[in-house]
Subunit: 257 residues, 4 copies
């Protein structure tokens, strides 16, 4: 495999779907939230992405079954008060090299653009490295109108003290160049464990923004499951990504998503 | 050289051969087992693979003769109780970069697929970092049927606490996407030395699974020879690969093959 | 995005423009000087460059608005005593990998060559790691004639104890192979903070060389603003670049621009 | 620049030239020897190689003049007792990434093969990390006949305890796959300084092997000059290459050339 590929499992027609991205990152906050949406609203997987820039390995599940590194596209049709369509991207990894990240994000944007996407929501965690009493939600947007909307819903706009690293940032930056607009939402978390509370806070804001209704009762249970399922290998990989991007003593406000 | 190439030395017709991979990894367990099969069953080399993602160096043998970094394909015709054909892949290195690993494994799969391969066995070591009394064999599979078969033969299925890094994992993961099935077998070893006992345990399981009969008497002797032949450079390279993938304090259950 | 791209915002005809480069580097000396020229002389942005070798992230400004990693081309028409045209390149990042740096600099040179550039001035800082009383200006040139001219204007020619790393060096080296000539000017700075004094010293020499007149009163104010605007992420990125190229204990005379 | 390029300065017809390579490495032993041959026998530069895998920087000489990273091809016609032609490759750098090294060495071999090269001599240093009383010469060869010839001339054949890293190894390994034969000669040096004695020992063996006569009186002087000319940047770069390939505590017998 010399190039990133997308295997389409089902051809779907979507009506200006909203694109939600939640690839692995700090505290698995984004992933937990997106997995929850997929399960609760019964989303359908319709494509898989494989890349030579993913870690050169496979994962092994509890039953000894091998699972390749991949990203997965799900869709939802006509959900929420506004009866909108959605594309949700989850996965067990991100690209490792800068060039790989750009190639993969470019492929993802080609794919969702073809399906009519004009709005992007990227989900992640913001590691504070400290105990969190009530999980706040941080955010950034591609334009002032969206930034103001975030603020109105209680999202704390990120000040100038940090960038957004990885797919959550790149998809917004590259998407904006194609005329897409979007926001990044980050649930505050101490980091380094599967954080249901941060995911709940994130989901609450997202539901308000998207006028969706999803019960969050099962989130804690899901977090426990995820803790069990997330293999040591994945944790180590995540830490590897973090080591690539974080500096000791300055870990407090970085974001990887 | 800008791309991975395979030099074919002999055109062979094979009948749905079983593909066995044993590139350098922990404790040289897989390599030792595969070298043993090649010698005992008198396999024939029929192709060599060279890649710009291999370490940019050559090895020097005991006689001062230079040997390039390469992978080598051997074949066996109509061996064992089931008179099966085999392709066996060994070598003195693996690709260094993620992109290189994916490219090389893709080339390998193209090549063996062309020869009719539908089943893959990848061999390696599992470093426990502790003294091993009786070498156990760990495994993982691409589907439940194979996983159960492994279990029946005493193989311990890997739990969710680790991935399989390098060619041994990637060939199974990428092969499965092409409709191949397979297993990874890992001989438990303290690691960091040429471990004949782990190779013997691995071979015993492999022989049962494949209904092969191969004497293992010469394994200890072969291990000694290998210890002598494995140059310091190769050891250092192996350690380099390990440093790329292992984290201090968490080395206990990782696998590289 | 698999390749570096340049988005042209305005087609301009320029008459043998002088090319000034000031991408992020030590002490933001070059950037500060170039930003100042752009503002004071009211330069017009006419193209943007994006590259998959840039860091895979976005920046977030004080208002929570996302800004992609990019380089920006400005032009000036008929300015200074000699009524010359100019192209000025600034940006918030440089390529990370060697291959990326070469690709990006090649694209930049293609672009400015097409616009008639024959002279290049690259601007940067020279970190001494020590307090600087009066900021000196160091320099290097592509030929003896230009080197002598630098000397006449008080520029200290770099002795053999250092290379010029990054775009400031590469554009001159690669440009020279295309028949362009040029100089690199480096304002002496303790490094690691936004240094208005180093930028002022640099600007003074540049104005003499180019027969430009630009007030430097607002530089200190601009430095303060820049200090505020330069996000922690950018600082960390800069430090990452520096870690890639500097060795502890030998940081005294390296240059990144 | 996206690919390695060779700029041909003069088209020359050569009669089965012997190819001598001496790119920067440990103790600058090979470089010193090759520079000496070029000067004493008055070789003519006829081509230059530039690569995006070279370090993304330029060097600055004593006069403040910028020099790009490059490799240079020289030729000699009808020299020595056997009136042989030669191609000599020197330079101020090597490729940084594995892929870059393979690409560059492939380009070099394409180029010299086109000129009729069938024999390769690669020159380097072997760092022992200890004071050297009388500099010995180590070697390796692509076949037994050449290895024996080395032994007859007092060269110590490298035992299995080390590979040959970089162009000196790769050119022999990749050249051999094209039917070229050759040897690598390494002058023993404590390393980390410009070692005229190691270069003299190396040259003496090379002159015997090639039936050349070259005075070595000026070598010490040349070493002094080189010490002065080799910029700190080059030293740092060399150390960077070494850090990429050496492990603390095992530095004793590695070779980079």
């Amino acid at each position: 495999m010399k190039e990133t590929i997308i295997n389409v499992l089902e051809e779907v027609e979507l009506d200006q779907p909203i694109f939600i991205e939640a690839l692995p990152g700090i505290g698995h906050v984004g992933k937990l939230a997106a997995d929850h949406i997929i399960d609760e609203l019964n989303a359908t997987k319709f494509a898989e992405l494989y890349s030579p820039s993913f870690p050169p390995q496979v994962l092994v599940d509890d039953n000894g079954i091998i699972e390749p590194m991949k990203n997965e596209f799900y869709y939802l049709k006509s959900v929420g008060k506004e009866k909108r369509d959605y594309i949700i991207l989850i996965g067990n990894t991100q690209g490792l090299s800068p060039e790989g990240q750009y190639e993969i994000c470019g492929m993802i944007l080609d794919f969702v653009e073809k399906h009519g996407v004009k709005e992007i929501y990227t989900l992640g965690g913001l590691a504070t490295g400290q105990p969190v009493e009530v999980s706040k939600v941080y955010g950034a947007a591609t334009n002032m109108k969206l930034a103001k909307r975030l603020k109105k819903h209680g999202v704390i706009l990120r000040s100038a003290d940090g960038g957004i690293i990885g797919a959550s940032g790149l998809l917004l930056g590259m998407g904006n160049l194609r005329g897409m607009e979007g926001v990044c939402l980050m649930g505050e978390t101490p980091g380094y464990y599967i954080d249901a509370e941060a995911a709940r806070a994130l989901l609450n804001v997202l539901m308000e923004l998207l006028k969706l209704e999803i019960g969050t009762e099962k989130l804690e249970e899901r977090a426990k499951e995820t803790r069990k399922m997330i293999s040591k290998a994945q944790q180590m990989e995540q830490e590897m990504i973090e080591r690539m991007t974080l500096k000791p003593g300055e870990e407090d406000l970085r974001y990887i998503g």
